[in-house]
Symmetry: C2
Subunit: 524 residues, 2 copies
């Protein structure tokens, strides 16, 4: 028998006797780790040296100066950039190429805050975005949902509400997210109302609003004015929009009009190039990152032209592709490295960053799902990302939101609270006295140091099975996916709606009803 | 529909048309990543500042100076440390406590090489251990094996050979390991002969020898003399022993005699405290790391007293425990952080490090298995570990070696080849021309840059399913564990024994036969 094994067995045997009575309680209880948002206690993982970073920045500048960005269907955005010094070239009646002198966009971004607060309706749950703050939010944008019972199907408003409730029930997320899944049973031109209302009603955390049309962005913000009061909204960030560039190097009019709506209202916006390497960005990661920086900077800069000081978040979503099938791949090593570099670039810009998440292409909550997720998610927490959308539920290359994966991911988010806390080094944690107390060859179960630390020393997963094989086998030999399946049902059953002022609730419902009555259903 | 999703779909659709014909081939082919060992291309992830590291080192020194290490049943080791300046205190007739002045052990370690070569019988597969080199080896020491067909049972020599063959078949491991599983169908006092022979016969990579008794260590080395020639073995490292301290703060006689046997022969040795926090080390990670450093340094130092310059590897195996059940837990965040610190400490000592691996407590190759594995394994590759034992197969808290997990882990090891390569930043990879070639709004599928890089840009997993859901579903909707189950059988079927000089083979078999005939079977 290997020595390692023997030691483990001895330790396990010894531990049965001792202090077990003192150590009970439900799994997954690490209340000392619960926070409205994480404050990073570990350094970032800096991959590249200053020279390489400067080369990437110079390439981003060169892209903007020599290739330029194409804008579509939004003359006001073109006017703003022209006034700021951009070189506008008319392509068609409603599309323009704009080139930017090196450094111009960086200058515009100087008014963007390095860190800001997004207020939640429960003030104890407001989050900071930027600096050492880290915020986890659920996945975003899947048309399908899946669970082990019913398989894969289109998402509905019931699924949408369920995921908000599951998020609200987890202490390891900090933000309610946005389009957690598409509620495809509601008309496209009306579903934003139900989504925003559901976030407000079933969660007391901060959330994202609609961006799929300028009027839907306005509705989202208007509902916040009902909730928070118009004056408060004018002076504080209470909602954010998550905007995608149309890579490579295009910003369409729906996007720029939406960005302007959020910025005009003083609200936050996230500026995301979704870069599928080889398709809409170069296959090589240095090039994808340079392009990402160029696109996200320009998109962020628009906010500062509309309202200097408006909160804007640099963002990156790097993915790779299967070069055999052309399918996008997620959770692979190259994008994880690219995310680490994006963290460095965001810090050099002194801007908050959204980056990576629990990505996977798996179609089940299986080993592949969590291996890929970890590759991606570790890069998020190590790169210094401030807002991690897609922290829970992501499967099927973002086409499906999984109930079981959501549970697994939130548990992982808990573990990452412990990870981001880091290692404390002081006389107590160095624990010389613990070893000296009994000396060589004696276990430490009952030392004063162990008694003092046993409740808080280690992350205590609610999902992992750490039992001996025999116990696990006697209890049915259940895998992680099956445990997660039970768990999400338990959590939904135990969910409690956070209190909401009835007057505000009524006003919100009235607003929705009026809006819905004002237009026929549209499904595009 | 979310913009992200829409973009992914468009990209997917477009990619079907283009250049698919040019992009075929079996999965998992990244021949450009194949190497006999990895040379790290990314920086290490340094968690603590110099002050904290100095505090940990001072605590390790204080442990050695004030508490000391207990030695048992090996007067020669006591004599060596006494002669070197250790303060020996007789505890019983065959146990001693030795205390070491601060700095004494570090001084002794100055003759230990920072980096050395372990020769494989196939010279193209020799590995470097130390510096920027990274070597992956299979898991070590499980009494049980498991697969999805037959479940969990005691390991046999057939399993042992199977795992050697699976390792040899994977380009993503570099070393054949040691006691991959216990061949429990062979007498304890004879199985080391079959294990060493199997490594030599079924693999052409470097491997670990026996450490369970001094004479078994000697036999292991003697078999290498038959294989490599006695003179070569005297001047080169061709085998290593993996030794465990008996934590806390004990080195037993079997261990120290074994260490002396390997060192005397000029062979390598790994010096591992297996620290189950709260049981055999403090619950707080700073204390566990200080103890780990103290124990491993003393164990390493013995080699230098026996033969200055003998290769010795500092090591750490940090784990946590469930504070509710007392069960060991693996793949949790605190030990991952501790591993990052061990990397820093090893570099300050200028010694090679063995650290972490694909640890898990799961009893199945499920989501938990790979989530925990990743938490642990990422710390190994990020901390600068040079030799990563337990890189493949580890399940069930190291009690079981899993066929399916072995396949998943080796595929992950491949991904880590890409990760450790890092990001190249130069004019070609910055890819300005690729974006300029077609301009905004045009995909990059057929750019010259894409054509030049598509074969090597991304890690191409042999195990992950990255297909669209519909294709995956049509093909049976198979999970990662089931795919791994098919894969290990395919790999065993395709395995080819590397050639071995028939004269040497005969001599090895003769040695084994003589040894086996010289003693009755013993089962302890």
């Amino acid at each position: 028998m290997g020595h390692v094994t023997e030691t483990a067995r001895k330790a396990r045997r010894r531990s049965r006797g001792g202090d077990q009575a003192a150590r009970s309680g439900a799994p997954g209880q690490n209340p000392q780790l619960e926070v409205p948002f994480i404050t990073r206690g570990i350094p970032t993982y800096d991959l590249l040296g200053d020279d390489s970073l400067a080369q990437i920045e110079a390439t981003a500048d060169r892209i903007l100066a020599e290739i330029g960005i194409e804008f579509r269907d939004d003359p006001e955005t073109v006017r703003l950039f022209r006034t700021a010094g951009g070189h506008v070239n008319d392509l068609t009646a409603d599309s323009w190429n704009i080139k930017f002198e090196p450094g111009m966009i960086r200058d515009i971004l100087k008014t963007a805050p390095a860190r800001f607060t997004q207020h939640a309706r429960n003030p104890a749950r407001s989050v900071e975005i930027g600096g050492e703050a880290v915020v986890f939010a659920p996945s975003y944008g899947s048309p399908f949902v899946m669970d082990l019972d019913k398989g894969r199907r289109y998402g509905t408003i019931e699924d949408f509400r369920n995921f908000i409730k599951l998020g609200q029930s987890s202490p390891w997320l900090h933000h309610s997210g946005g389009t957690i899944c598409e509620p495809t049973d509601i008309a496209v031109n009306k579903r934003h109302l139900d989504m925003v209302y559901s976030h407000i009603r079933y969660s007391d955390r901060a959330f994202l609003g609609s961006i799929t049309a300028p009027e839907r962005a306005e509705d989202s913000i208007e509902m916040c004015r009902i909730l928070f009061g118009a004056d408060f909204v004018d002076q504080n960030c209470v909602i954010m929009g998550n905007f995608n560039t149309t890579s490579p190097l295009v910003l369409d009019g729906v996007t720029t009009q939406g960005i302007r709506a959020y910025a005009r209202a003083g609200q936050g916006s996230i500026h995301l190039p979704f870069l599928l390497g080889g398709a809409v960005s170069p296959l090589t990661m240095a090039g994808s990152v340079a392009q990402c920086l160029a696109e996200s900077m320009v998109s962020c800069a628009l906010t500062q032209l509309v309202r200097p000081g408006a909160p804007a978040v640099l963002a990156s979503f790097l993915s790779s592709m299967s070069l055999r099938s052309g399918s996008p791949t997620f959770g692979t090593p190259e994008p994880a490295l690219g995310s680490l570099v994006m963290g460095q670039l965001a810090r050099r810009l002194n801007m908050p960053l959204r980056c990576a998440g629990n990505f996977s292409t798996s179609k089940l909550p299986d080993a592949q799902a969590m291996q890929q997720s970890m590759m991606s998610m570790m890069s998020a927490v190590q790169c210094g990302a401030n807002y991690v959308l897609h922290s829970a539920g992501f499967l099927d290359g973002l086409l499906s939101m999984s109930y079981e994966k959501f549970i697994m991911d939130t548990d992982l988010c808990g573990a990452l609270h412990a990870y981001l806390k880091g290692i404390e080094v002081n006389e107590d944690t160095l624990a010389f006295d613990a070893l000296a107390e009994k000396g060589p060859g004696e276990h430490l179960f009952s030392t004063a140091h162990t008694m003092r630390h046993y409740k808080t020393a280690y992350w205590d997963s609610a999902m992992d099975d750490n039992q001996p094989w025999e116990t696990w086998d006697e209890q049915g030999g259940i895998d992680a996916a099956t445990r997660a399946n039970s768990r999400w049902k338990e959590q939904l059953n135990a969910y409690q709606t956070p209190p909401l002022d009835p007057g505000k609730d009524e006003a919100l419902q009235e607003f929705m009803a009026k809006k819905k009555a004002s237009m026929p259903d549209a499904w595009y």
